[in-house]
């Protein structure tokens, strides 16, 4: 294929004994977007780095070649690689916070790349830098050149990164999870920008993502990677209509689309890569494994239309099998109209303010209003989702509930008794009643303690079960409940995968027999298939133990899937609260609507992205916090904050001009 821009053939990379990339081949045509889709550890980032020849030192090329415009990149001397990096191939990384140098201005960083690859100097250089910044959608580009990275937001940083990678006029742009670290509304902007620059410049693009929806929105061609190998390749239309590989199908089924179904999780985890595979890599996790799957490595099967798949059983037609209906589907749980019942948890006018700078004599005290007057009710056995972007105060509120963060004003009541400031015994009871599952299971388990000690600690400290033998029995039961083996108790956290760790973290919270579990984005650090496992586990535990859940998330479809009620937060305040299906289907607040429309789904072809970025909580806009970004804002919105009003269907909205459900 001489017309292809990039041709990777039979590439194999090893780190030690592990074959992290094991014989993959693909081609990217000019102007084409190739999406490499896969979970963490599938080798997709290694593939990207290998094209730039920036592999970590422990990794080695074992076989294969990489050709750019027909030129063999692996055969080039290092000095000849430098013009390729940034010149012919540009690269954007996942974490915009760390990929810019904090002590250089944006201008210096862009100019560095420009002068290197385009040999510009002086005034021309300055103008080119400003143009470039302009072209990635940054206003006042000439002024911004003198800013330092800390002065701009995450989304802007990613734009600057894109500008830098475009400085060499690359023919190929590699984007490694470019929007994973960004908020949904900002993600939509960045994806839009990437699409725009690609079209304008006629670049080829290699986009690496774990997000099916991002792939659906961006891709021309999709390649699915699993355990170091490509398992399916197809043009977008074909892939999203009839993915053939069981792994691809499972990925689809793991998406939270139908709220009343158990998510289809993929059992088990990615196999270790240090052994030589004799059969299909996915055989252990596949539902339709036959004898041949274990004995023979599946070869590529061509299905026409450029659709290729590595599977022995491609004959079975594609269909997402509907998951088994939930044992306790929404109708079986008459929780929605429970306001007559006694609330388990009552939050009233909760405020958490942080002092930004110690107040001096003359200086005005500057405060960050992380949570600014939130009122919530949570009923026994109910799931309430707290939805919002980063920095909206949802995590701070969660931490206040578990008494990690004292309230500045307002109060929280558990069973009618205010939290905190009581006798030691009552404090213990209250602590045990509300437990938290943290976002990152890699950070929330002490690496130097065995699982047994981790789980036991809370039981001892809160006096849940003083007797050691009975405690042991309880712990073993608990491990079974969260789907882990008893043997795991004697091991260290690092021996487990992310999903398993999150199960352990859940078990730790459950060990003290709480009634309310605050889950702070418990799945956002996990892969899609594992995310489904955890969500299913939480639902199961909720029905079997009668737990209440406060589910903190930025993922609106997931919130809708899991929760009966939903509260949307923006800059420390709740802007909409009510039945989760109602909000997700017909959002009344413009922000809820924006959140919903910014999330790419498998079928969207255009994203409606908000202008601007979330304002800072340290100086929120006067009037309605959302008015600078709101398409419906009018004069009144700039003056006073709208009061909460109750709509006909019972939900509460803080907006002067709520969207009429009937009109939309």
């Amino acid at each position: 294929m001489s017309e292809s821009l990039l041709q990777v053939s039979n590439l194999r990379i090893t780190i030690g004994k592990a074959r992290v990339v094991d014989g993959i081949s693909f081609a990217i045509a000019p102007r084409q977007t190739f999406v490499l889709l896969g979970e963490s550890g599938s080798g997709k980032s290694m593939t990207a780095l290998s094209i730039m020849r920036l592999l970590p030192e422990s990794a080695h090329y074992q076989a294969g070649d990489i050709r750019l415009h027909g030129q063999d990149l692996l055969g080039l001397p290092e000095s000849a690689m430098r013009p390729v990096r940034g010149g012919m191939v540009g690269m954007i990384f996942q974490e915009p916070m760390t990929s810019l140098n904090p002590v250089l201005t944006l201008g210096e960083q862009i100019k560095e790349s420009l002068s290197l690859h385009q040999r510009l100097h002086g005034r021309a250089l300055h103008e080119a830098a400003a143009d470039l910044l302009q072209s990635v959608g940054i206003a006042d580009a000439a002024q911004r050149l003198h800013d330092y990275p800390f002065q701009i937001s995450g989304g802007m940083k990613q734009r600057v990164m894109i500008a830098i990678s475009l400085a060499g006029n690359p023919a190929l742009l590699i984007a490694d999870e470019p929007t994973t670290a960004l908020d949904v509304t900002v993600q939509a902007q960045v994806l839009e920008l990437l699409r725009k620059v690609q079209r304008e410049r006629g670049m080829g693009m290699l986009l690496i993502t774990h997000d099916l929806a991002v792939a659906a929105y961006m891709a021309d061609q999709v390649g699915v990677m699993y355990a170091g190998e490509l398992v399916e390749m197809a043009p977008r239309e074909v892939f999203f209509k009839q993915a053939q590989h069981p792994y691809s199908q499972k990925l689809f089924a793991a998406l939270p689309s139908q709220p009343d179904q158990v998510l289809q999780a993929i059992a088990g985890s990615v196999p270790a890569l240090d052994k030589v595979f004799e059969g299909c890599r996915f055989a252990d996790r596949c539902d339709e494994t036959q004898a041949i799957c274990r004995n023979a490595i599946p070869a590529w099967q061509d299905l026409g239309n450029g659709h290729q798949v590595r599977c022995h059983g491609v004959s079975s037609p594609f269909q997402i099998k509907p998951g088994p209906a939930l044992v306790s589907s929404r109708s079986a749980q008459p929780i929605l109209r429970v306001h007559d019942r006694q609330a388990l948890l009552k939050v009233r006018d909760a405020q958490v303010y942080f002092d930004l700078r110690p107040s001096t004599f003359f200086g005005k005290r500057r405060q960050l209003k992380a949570v600014d007057g939130v009122s919530l009710d949570l009923f026994p056995g109910e799931t309430l989702a707290l939805v919002g972007e980063s920095g909206c105060g949802k995590t701070t509120l969660g931490k206040s509930l578990v008494q990690l963060q004292p309230l500045t004003a307002g109060y929280i009541e558990l069973d009618g008794v205010a939290l905190g400031g009581h006798s030691r015994r009552l404090l213990q009871v209250q602590r045990a009643a509300i437990q938290m599952v943290f976002q990152d299971p890699f950070a929330s388990l002490n690496p130097r303690m065995r699982i047994h000690a981790l789980l036991e600690e809370g039981m001892v400290a809160l006096g849940v079960e003083p007797d050691a033998t009975r405690r042991q029995i309880l712990l073993e039961q608990l491990m079974t409940q969260v789907g882990m083996s008893k043997q795991a108790l004697n091991r260290y956290p690092h021996e487990f995968s992310g999903g398993q760790r999150q199960r352990i973290a859940i078990a730790r919270a459950l060990a003290v027999q709480p009634r309310l579990l605050v889950c702070d984005e418990p799945t956002s650090a996990l892969d899609v298939s594992v995310q489904a496992q955890i969500v299913n586990l939480l639902r199961e535990l909720q029905t079997s133990m009668g737990l209440s859940l406060l589910f903190i998330t930025h993922n609106l479809p997931l919130a809708r899937h899991l929760a009966q009620r939903m509260a949307v937060m923006y800059l420390g305040r709740i802007v909409e609260q009510g039945d989760s299906a109602a909000i997700a289907d017909t959002p009344a607040h413009p922000y809820s609507q924006a959140l919903l429309q910014a999330v790419p789904t498998l079928t969207t072809h255009t994203l409606v992205s908000l202008r601007g970025e979330p304002a800072s909580a340290s100086h929120p806009p006067i009037g309605c916090h959302f008015h600078p970004r709101c398409p419906r804002a009018e004069a009144i919105c700039q003056v006073t904050y709208p009061a909460l009003r109750t709509l006909q269907d019972g939900r509460q909205v803080a907006c002067y001009f709520p969207i009429d459900p009937v009109a939309t």
Binding site: K399, V402, Q403, R431, F438, Q439, S444, P447, A453, E457
Partner: protein
């Protein structure tokens, strides 16, 4: 002949420390034992560890003190000698048995400086007299056999090499036999896997290190029958003897000072980082103040005070050894008090970071008390830092002893120490021809100790890091 044990303060402390560390490793939690076992699987740890063991062995033997009973005299109760000796003194007594008049080079037969000597015929001449040791030992040695044409140095050296090799082989075999017995395999199989490098322990490294150590030891022992192996110093004392005696002083300085700094640095550092607020302010204030006083000045002042105290309270010290011991301890104390700030600052910063970790938050939501969180969640995650800086400090303190002795405010001048040897080298290096061996000897012994301590610590950190075992 009777004897009376003497327990000096420093002896007690060092044996307690050794006991505590031993207990920790042998009876401690199984993860410590597992770490200990995986430690010895690293070749570097094996080599450095064996060398350290030698030093520690010498230091410990030198820390078992006793006094001999004096010959009984009629009408008097039992009297003990004022001189306090150690077990090591007895073992290497031969080295110090012959006192020369002044400098002599390593393995020399004659003095290095000219001395007036009386010839047998009564003439007084200025020359290089024969060393008393050589004179005394050569007499009565009849040189016979096929070896007699070889120079004596070579002969003795070769014998040392042979003995060393045999000794090392014997020790390795003994250990292998014990291992084979314990593991339930035949000695042959064990030796074969060990020789092929397939056993989990680095046998070849261990054996090679042991051979080098034994050969060096045996050669020195052989030579020392006739020669001063590392020469003699200005007043004619054997430099090898001085260097060996210096081991205890170096180890004591390193270990005891570390023992003083650790609780201060760890306790205050974690408390400052974890509690924050006024506790943090107070602790930061203390160490900033302490840091702004020049350390050497503080130490000099404190040592001078102590000297005054010793002179005005002679009744408190019943022997020269206890006086030297007190001086050593005090030096450790003052050195420790002035040097905990660096580690404390590092630990405070790291604790600030760890405090925000989710697992600390999780422990707090579970109602775990602050002290337990500091002990179980913060401290274990600081251990690698503590361990690294402990060893760096240990090496630093061994070197600091040399510097302070050089300034004249170090250990007791009568106490054998590398610092005192280096202090004396000031004049030796400026004379012509240069007397280099006391300095070289002190430097060599110190260098090997510090280097192997650093290498060993590296391996310890790797072995005890649960994350590191993955690699």
């Amino acid at each position: 002949m009777g004897w009376q044990p003497v327990v000096l303060w420093a002896d007690g402390l060092i044996w307690l420390t050794v006991g505590a560390v031993g207990l920790l490793f042998w009876r401690g939690a199984d993860n410590i034992r597992a770490g200990w076992q995986s430690l010895w699987r690293q070749p570097v740890a094996m080599a450095a560890g064996l060398i350290l063991l030698c030093y520690v062995g010498i230091g410990l033997l030198d820390s078992l003190h006793f006094r001999l009973r004096l010959p009984a005299q009629a009408g008097m109760s039992v009297q003990y000698s004022v001189e306090v000796n150690s077990v090591l003194d007895v073992l290497i007594a031969r080295l110090s048995a012959y006192q020369e008049q002044s400098y002599s080079a390593p393995l020399a037969k004659h003095l290095f400086v000219k001395m007036p000597t009386t010839l047998p015929d009564g003439h007084l001449v200025l020359g290089y007299p024969e060393l008393t040791l050589y004179q005394a030992q050569r007499l009565g040695r009849d040189e016979q056999g096929a070896w007699r044409h070889w120079p004596e140095k070579v002969r003795l050296g070769l014998r040392g090499v042979l003995m060393g090799v045999l000794l090392a082989a014997a020790m390795t075999l003994l250990f292998a036999g014990w291992q084979a017995h314990r593991g339930g395999v035949s000695l042959r199989d064990l030796l074969r896997t060990a020789w092929q490098g397939k056993h989990q322990l680095p046998w070849r490294t261990g054996w090679a290190t042991l051979t080098v150590l034994c050969v060096l030891g045996a050669m020195m022992a052989e030579w020392s029958t006739v020669y001063h192996v590392l020469g003699t110093d200005k007043i004619g004392q054997d430099v090898l003897y001085q260097s060996i005696k210096g081991v205890r002083t170096g180890l004591m300085m390193g270990t005891l000072t570390t023992l003083v700094t650790l609780p201060l640095a760890v306790g205050l550092g974690i408390a400052a980082g974890y509690f924050g607020g006024w506790v943090d302010d107070a602790i930061q204030y203390i160490y900033t103040t302490l840091n702004s006083i020049p350390g050497v000045l503080l130490i000099v002042a404190a040592v001078l005070l102590m000297q005054g105290f010793i002179e005005t309270h002679p009744a408190l010290f019943d022997s020269a050894a206890s006086r030297a011991d007190f001086r050593l301890l005090f030096l450790c104390l003052i050195l420790g008090v002035t040097s905990w700030t660096g580690l404390c600052r590092v630990l405070r910063g790291e604790t600030l970071k760890l405090r925000e970790q989710d697992y600390v938050s999780a422990a707090r939501t579970l109602g775990v008390s602050d002290w337990r969180i500091m002990g179980r969640h913060v401290l274990p995650n600081l251990l690698h830092l503590i361990l690294i800086s402990m060893v760096m400090d240990f090496s630093g303190f061994v070197l600091a002893e040399a510097v302070l002795s050089y300034l004249g405010v170090g250990v007791d001048p009568a106490m054998a120490s590398w610092g005192n040897m280096i202090n004396a080298a000031r004049l030796e290096l400026s004379r012509e021809p240069v007397v280099w061996w006391p300095l070289a000897s002190a430097f060599g012994w110190m260098f090997v100790l510090v280097l192997s301590a650093n290498l060993f610590a590296d391996s310890v950190r790797e072995a005890f890091d649960p994350l590191g075992q993955r690699r």
